[in-house]
């Protein structure tokens, strides 16, 4: 922790950056911290409760954050993929940022969860994660962590749903998505949802109805997952942020599996790696086309 604080202090004192975007404790666990004074750097923390993906704050649409000036950001390996995505999609320039990579041994689901990380509470996305250090970082801090072997199995949950017949699946998703009130927390916390005007907010025409009824919600969540095809960084923020507790991550995970099996693509923290949607191969599988 001290290593992180010292580095942050130095970056601020050397005027390499104007602010540090990291984590701090609050009453209920960890939360994002915006630190502009070297003297405040001792507030910085990092452990398994620092679940938030801070890359969401790097979108150029966040005017009040852009005003802070040049930023140094604390990133986990999974967050680095979001930073790479923002660079890849022309929202950021690598040279405009200092990236403080933290070694991570998995996180819990909610920042207010237990002080102990264990097989029960480790976030499902961390189970099987092999990337514990961001490669994209300018600085790397912290000890090498070993992660508990988690029990959650998203693939199992997917295959349970896949086993249902279409009608059962439709009623499952209709029921799950009927909980959505369109607070758009899923979108707002998503680092890759940086559109100036989201398709869900377009009214002429309103492809996606803004009303939170099943019809509008179905279109919204399917479209959201599709727009993230090959772009979702699997940070799990959408699902965590959903106040209705809708398992949105399942949709994203499904899409990730589709692009992985069809196009051999896994989300990457290499900004120069081409994403699968928007490119093609002449011999792409087309078994579904008559």
């Amino acid at each position: 922790m001290q290593e992180l604080r010292d580095l942050a202090k130095k970056l601020l004192l050397d005027k390499q950056v104007n602010a540090i975007l990291g984590y701090e404790w609050d009453r209920r666990g960890a939360r994002p911290a915006f630190i502009t004074e070297a003297g405040d750097c001792d507030r910085l923390v990092f452990d398994h409760r620092c679940v938030q993906n801070l890359a969401a704050y790097l979108s150029p649409r966040r005017a009040n954050i852009a005003q802070l000036g040049r930023l140094a950001v604390v990133i986990k390996a999974c967050d680095a993929r979001a930073v790479a995505g923002l660079i890849r999609e022309n929202q950021l320039k690598r040279e405009d940022l200092v990236l403080i990579g933290v070694r991570c041994g998995g996180v819990v689901v909610n920042p207010s969860d237990s002080e102990q990380l264990n097989a029960e509470n480790i976030a499902p996305r961390c189970v099987g994660c092999e990337q514990r250090e961001p490669t994209l970082a300018d600085h790397l801090v912290g000890e090498t962590q070993s992660a508990p072997v988690g029990k959650a199995n998203r693939d199992l949950r997917l295959s349970e749903i896949e086993k249902l017949n279409p009608e059962e699946r439709l009623s499952l998703w209709t029921s799950l998505l009927s909980q959505c009130t369109r607070c758009y927390a899923c979108r707002q916390v998503c680092p890759m949802c940086f559109c100036e005007r989201c398709i869900a907010d377009k009214t002429q025409p309103a492809w996606i109805e803004s009303s939170p009824h099943s019809r509008g919600n179905f279109s919204w969540h399917l479209t959201r997952a599709l727009h993230l095809a090959g772009r979702c960084v699997d940070c799990g923020e959408c699902e965590r942020a959903c106040p209705a507790g809708i398992p949105l991550g399942l949709l994203n995970h499904k899409v990730a599996r589709i692009v992985a099996s069809r196009y051999g693509y896994a989300v990457s923290d290499d900004p120069s790696r081409e994403t699968p949607i928007g490119s093609y191969r002449l011999d792409d599988e087309q078994e579904f086309i008559a």
Binding site: L164, P166, T174, T223, K254, R262, I289, A290
Partner: protein
């Protein structure tokens, strides 16, 4: 008219191959099911997954998407981009519970009037077997609200 369920099917097709192929089917007087209504787009590349969702929202029982064969796209590559888009879309739709049999994807060239008739007839039969798509999510009342009288 018989009592058969007559599905309402919308076809999103490209202008250069499938639309022209459907013209050829007409010129060749190939009789086919009258359930498929074509909406013409320049290219499969222009066909958005939103079109398909909206068609279902508006009560379509089935959708056809059709365009130029690989390597034949009038715009070189529109169909290749469409192919990836629809590959992912179709699997996600299936996962969400939309029977893939309700959405037919095909390549029909300008010279394949016969194939177009086949695609139309097959899609019609397939959707007819599945029945009307009444289960598509609706704007029905919120589950928790106090209901209206009567």
């Amino acid at each position: 008219m018989s009592d058969l369920f007559e599905p309402n099917i919308v076809a999103f097709v490209c202008n250069w191959c499938t639309y022209t192929g459907a013209d050829l089917a007409g010129t060749s007087r190939l009789t086919m099911a009258p359930n498929v209504r074509i909406i013409r787009l320049p290219c499969t590349g222009r066909i958005d997954t939103l079109f398909i969702l909206k068609a279902f929202e508006r009560g379509a029982d089935g959708v056809i998407v059709s365009g130029c064969h690989p390597a034949d796209c009038h715009y070189t590559a529109g169909n290749y981009h469409a192919r990836r888009r629809f590959a992912v879309f179709r699997e996600l739709m299936e996962f969400a519970g939309i029977d893939p049999q309700r959405v037919t994807f095909s390549w029909v060239s300008a010279s394949e009037g016969g194939k177009w008739a086949e695609v139309v007839n097959n899609a019609t039969e397939q959707v007819r077997r599945l029945g009307p798509f009444q289960k598509y999510p609706s704007p029905a009342a919120h589950a928790g609200e106090i209901a209206c009288k009567s």
